[in-house]
Symmetry: C2
Subunit: 257 residues, 2 copies
């Protein structure tokens, strides 16, 4: 059975999803029939004009409506939909299922990835986290998710909230640490390139070791002399506090072992 999909939104996630569905349309199981956006021109490079609408009242009938808008607009957009009892899902990691308006059947279709404009992603490797109010709807979401990704997980709203916090640590905060290390390099006329093989190896290790097993460095060794030298180096710099707190946290983990 062919599933008809409508996407609501035109941002980063919407555009990457549109492209993923377009690739998959060849196998005739999923059809992206329409996309809603406030400004039709924002999507004209991806879709033909008659596939785009800027009017909620012109939304086509579909098996699922995927809302890809900013977190704080999900509730409002889902309340504006001019139909009842259809399957409506959002794509946010931090918003509960219940944000979808009561008039429709609720679900979540959360692709866990960091999307960058103009950087292609291989959607088949992106985990998609699914949740639905009703079991039959889960099967529809599963079919659609599996058509574009090999990694599909059932994740409820409470788990998704935890996962989103975990993702902030693994992605946003990690990237910020890269920025700090780049600034330290820059301040000392060192090319940041020198650190990239180390960064790649840090991540590669996760293929064979747990982060606990992979931990190294002065905090792990409790090498107080090096820690003090680093703190002296960072004295009066804004990142000293981050150095101290992460060092202490690693040391506390070691003690627990």
């Amino acid at each position: 059975m062919m599933h008809k999909v409508v996407i609501i939104g035109s941002g980063n996630v919407a555009q990457h999803l549109i492209e993923a569905f377009q690739i998959e349309e060849q196998n005739k199981e999923i059809e992206l029939i329409q996309v809603y956006t406030r400004q039709k021109s924002t999507l004209s490079h991806l879709l033909s004009w008659n596939q785009i609408t800027d009017d909620f009242n012109s939304l086509a009938e579909a098996d699922v409506y995927i809302i890809c808008v900013a977190d704080d607009a999900i509730e409002e957009v889902s309340a504006k939909l001019p139909f009842k009892n259809r399957l409506v899902v959002h794509t946010s990691g931090s918003i509960p299922l219940t944000a979808i308006h009561e008039d429709n059947r609720k679900g979540v279709f959360y692709p866990l990835q960091t999307f960058t404009k103009n950087k292609k992603v291989d959607f088949s490797k992106i985990p998609i986290c699914l949740e639905s109010e009703n079991a039959p709807d889960y099967h529809i979401l599963l079919k659609i998710a599996q058509s574009i990704s090999k990694k599909v997980y059932a994740i409820n709203s409470e788990q998704r909230r935890a996962l989103h916090v975990a993702a902030v640590f693994a992605n946003n905060f990690t990237n910020h640490l890269f920025q700090i290390s780049q600034e330290i390099c820059q301040d000392n006329q060192i090319p940041f390139e020198i650190l990239k093989p180390l960064i790649f190896e840090t991540v590669q290790k996760l293929e064979i070791l747990t982060p606990q097993e992979a931990q190294t460095g002065p905090a792990k060794r409790n090498d107080q002399k090096t820690i003090e030298a680093h703190e002296t180096f960072l004295a009066h710099k804004k990142y000293l506090n981050i150095y101290k707190i992460l060092t202490q946290s690693i040391q506390e983990n070691v003690k627990k072992l």
Copy 2:
């Protein structure tokens, strides 16, 4: 001209260096002639018995002696060497050139990578940071470093100190954030696998964007509602403080722009 190398030490760095030199020996420019270790058996899987010594007085004559021992043993080991005016280097990121004893010509041969026992590394991609007291010695070190790596940099002791701090942020602290995210997953019955594609993409982005450009997430967007929800989720948990301080640091960076 063939350069003769002696390695002093038998730990992780020593063993990875031994293997790297053994691969390169075929081109006849560098010869690893001997390795010193306190317990000869620790290296018997890598070297023939007559290439190993446990006696400083039996050290062979070489163009360079590479000390690969724990940071706080470098000074002592370099003082024990029973010869003068030879080129002696250490491999540490956090110890100055001057830790090498006055009797010999000082240098540093610092491979910037995280070494894991039993995990092979491709040494040709590991940056090697060189420093020497005298220009002619730099040329010897350059030749040796280039025989095993394509990435060789001149880094003085002050820069190396900065680089080592930067590496702690980029590697040790990053890995600790991975561990925190894994713990959050574990506590909520979520497989850590879900986060790995995100982690790989975080690092892949560094190929085309600076960390500053790649930064995303609630702190970057100043999405106070999500930040508060995350802080509520982490309330009474040991990682709340880390969340707050890294969020604040990202927000301060955004303000500067």
